[in-house]
């Protein structure tokens, strides 16, 4: 039994006089205890809405409908009443957000923002809570934690703020941590440090982690299982290595191919996926990715593509998947075949830290912070 089992989760926003938006359209995935799972996709694909729906944090508004199940340790989080949900949040399931500055209350000292979780869930007060808060800040690598307790978010640097947020999230040793683009708002060197910290925390405490990101480099460095989302549906699920090596869904292929590479020839163009995430087909009419897909065939628009379960436990939602071992598109193959051989040359650009997906595995020692995980010899084939 998985720790978190998300089954057919759907989130729709209905507005009077407007088309109903299916932000999340039947997402299913599972997270085992202690596992690191990635939810990947471009902006607007429903990653964040998925996580907020699981946490019960979607802003209450008329026309919002959440369907499906999110079973955490035997309890369906979506069916809980407000009170029991608040009991679980922060204690068993915690979340880290994207923008550490806006995610911290600007008018309250960091200390109180940490201790309030301890007071709420662990009944700690006064000096005991403060002592624990100091220990927590220390654990997430904030120097001089005792002084920091009295400071306000605006007095901390971006990296320190994210560390403080992480301290609040892990304060009660949750069994599941959801990180929603935790490094997007940070600069490159800090990104690497924060990812390293998250890795350490997960390894030390056995907390399961759902990593939500658009950054394939982050996924490659951390996640064991990866779910690729497109237009509110999981279009491909695979373990990390097979996914990077043999992406089956054309969207995954496109994502991997669009990662900029330093070892590409001078003047060589980037390979974006044509169109934008708004050019979608409703899933009921066919594959939402069809309008942008290079491998589109007529069947794509005949109806919703079925989930195909492949022999190795991976699954994808495509009627004309990229073949294995693929011939096209070149970009994805090149990524897999050439990257290991490129070795030290394959330093990612500053814009995409660690974005050399095929090289990374979770236990890699960090090299220079911000320059991604070290290349592994055994990856070369």
């Amino acid at each position: 039994m998985a720790l978190l089992e998300v089954d057919d989760l759907s989130v729709t926003f209905a507005r009077r006089g407007q088309r109903t938006v299916n932000a999340v359209d039947g997402v299913s995935f599972s997270v085992d205890a202690g596992e690191v799972v990635g939810l990947v996709g471009e902006s607007g694909c429903g990653k964040s809405v998925t996580s907020l729906a699981i946490m019960g944090l979607l802003p209450k508004q008329p026309g919002l409908k959440v369907g499906g199940k999110a079973v955490f340790d035997g309890t369906d989080l979506l069916q809980l009443d407000d009170r029991s949900r608040r009991d679980i949040r922060g204690r068993d399931v915690a979340m880290i957000f994207q923008d550490p500055l806006s995610s911290l209350n600007p008018v309250i000292p960091i200390g109180l923002q940490v201790t309030e979780v301890l007071t709420r869930h662990r009944g700690m007060k006064g000096a005991a809570a403060e002592k624990e808060a100091v220990a927590l800040l220390d654990r997430v690598g904030i120097p001089d934690p005792r002084r920091r307790l009295k400071e306000y978010p605006h007095q901390l640097s971006g990296g320190m703020r994210q560390r403080a947020l992480i301290a609040m999230a892990v304060a009660c040793q949750p069994r599941l941590l959801i990180a929603d683009e935790p490094t997007t708002a940070l600069d490159v060197t800090i990104q690497a440090q924060i990812l390293e910290l998250l890795k350490d925390l997960v390894r030390d405490s056995g907390t399961a982690l759902v990593m939500i990101t658009h950054d394939l480099g982050v996924v490659a460095g951390m996640c064991e299982t990866i779910n690729v989302l497109y237009a509110g549906k999981v279009v491909e699920t695979a373990r990390r290595r097979p996914l990077f090596r043999e992406p089956r869904h054309p969207y995954t292929v496109g994502l991997l191919g669009s990662v900029p590479r330093l070892d590409a020839g001078r003047g060589e163009r980037l390979n974006p996926i044509p169109g934008s995430v708004r050019d979608v087909l409703p899933w009921v009419e066919g594959c939402a990715f069809a309008p942008r897909c290079a491998r589109r065939v007529d069947e794509c628009v005949d109806g919703p593509p079925e989930l195909v379960l492949a022999h190795d436990g991976r699954s994808y939602r495509c009627v004309n998947p990229a073949p294995v071992p693929g011939v096209t598109p070149d970009a994805a193959q090149a990524l897999y075949r050439e990257a290991p051989a490129a070795g030290e040359d394959a330093v990612p650009t500053p814009a995409e830290p660690g974005a050399v997906p095929a090289q990374a595995v979770p236990n890699d020692p960090p090299t220079v912070p911000g320059f991604g995980p070290a290349p592994r010899e055994e990856e070369s084939q």
Binding site: R85, R86, A94, F97, S102, V107, I108, E116, V117
Partner: protein
């Protein structure tokens, strides 16, 4: 903090100096003068000149201004041309009444406005929200003097629940200490006098509170709605904090900044603008007196009044700035 306050108070000096120059020039360019007010349309040119001479208005303007400044430094605002009493005496008698009225009105406006605005935001789109937003629109639209008359007619004259005029029942023979009647009653332990003064305050204060109340409701509502969508509120929710903690500690406090600003501005406005309400309730505050002074072209009183209002505005803004720094560490003064 202390240095900040001193610095702000020192800023008063150039402000007041500039203001006094402006006022002086302005008043002397006005057609007519106190002699017209005293003599009316009759008076011969000789009589006018005699009065101008007796008031020192025939001297060069710079001399007049220098004399004015010298007196001002000694806190001597001169003698009212209409009541023949010292302007300072008149103010000390009347200004406390207006201050009491303003404070009472703001207590009502804040005490009702912030909770109502907050609840309206929480129940956005539901009945309470529509009622308070609509109600505040009406509150802004109704002229204060009209509301004052309606309140007086219903609650004072028909129902007889409240007194219809004055600041206190003169038959109580209350002792005067500061001319803040409620405060005097409390200080001298004349409880009935304090209660009576408070009772006299209710209707005019309610009338005066209508516009500030409406504005505070709207600003609080808008501000709370904005803060409810902030990321840090989501963080607080994600921590599993109780709804009460989230609302009190995270939402309300952050939404108070614009409200405090508006409270400061509104208070200053009320202090200077209670004229109509005071007239309706024959309330012995500064408003009605100033109205008289304007029609009598009572220069010393007007000058003094405008200067006092300037001081009040600076002080109120100082208090607003200080409360900012209590609420928001980012603008904390050192």
């Amino acid at each position: 903090m202390f240095r900040f306050i001193v610095r702000r108070l020192l800023q008063l000096i150039p402000t007041l100096f500039g203001l006094s120059v402006l006022l002086f020039i302005w008043l002397h360019r006005l057609p007519g003068g106190p002699e017209t007010a005293i003599l009316g349309e009759r008076g011969t040119p000789q009589m006018r000149a005699a009065i101008r001479r007796s008031l020192g208005l025939d001297e060069p303007i710079l001399v007049q201004y220098a004399r004015f400044l010298r007196r001002m430094i000694k806190l001597d605002l001169g003698t009212s041309t209409s009541t023949k009493r010292a302007v300072t005496t008149e103010f000390l008698e009347r200004f406390p009444g207006t201050v009491e009225l303003t404070v009472m009105a703001m207590v009502i406006a804040i005490g009702i406005g912030i909770p109502l605005g907050y609840l309206a935001a929480r129940r956005r789109g539901r009945f309470l929200d529509h009622a308070s937003v609509g109600g505040s629109l009406i509150g802004i639209c109704i002229p204060v003097f009209f509301l004052a008359y309606v309140l007086k007619a219903i609650f004072a004259e028909n129902l007889g629940w409240f007194p219809s005029s004055g600041r206190q029942d003169p038959t109580l023979g209350a002792t005067r200490v500061t001319n803040f009647f409620v405060l005097d009653g409390l200080m001298t332990r004349e409880w009935d006098a304090a209660a009576d003064a408070l009772w006299h305050l209710v209707l005019p204060a309610v009338a005066l509170a209508s516009i500030p109340l409406a504005i505070i409701v709207r600003i609080t509502r808008a501000s709370v709605l904005e803060v409810l969508n902030e990321d840090f509120v989501r963080t607080a929710e994600a921590k599993g904090l109780t709804e009460r903690t989230v609302r009190g500690r995270h939402v309300l406090r952050n939404s108070m900044l614009p409200v405090v600003t508006s409270i400061g501005l509104l208070t200053g406005g009320l202090l200077s603008g209670a004229v109509l309400t005071e007239t309706v309730f024959a309330y012995g505050g500064i408003g009605a007196f100033i109205y008289e002074a304007i029609s009598q072209r009572d220069y010393p009183v007007l000058m003094g009044f405008i200067l006092i209002i300037a001081v009040v505005y600076v002080l109120v803004n100082l208090i607003v700035d200080l409360s900012y720094s209590v609420i928001d560490p980012r603008v904390r003064v050192r």
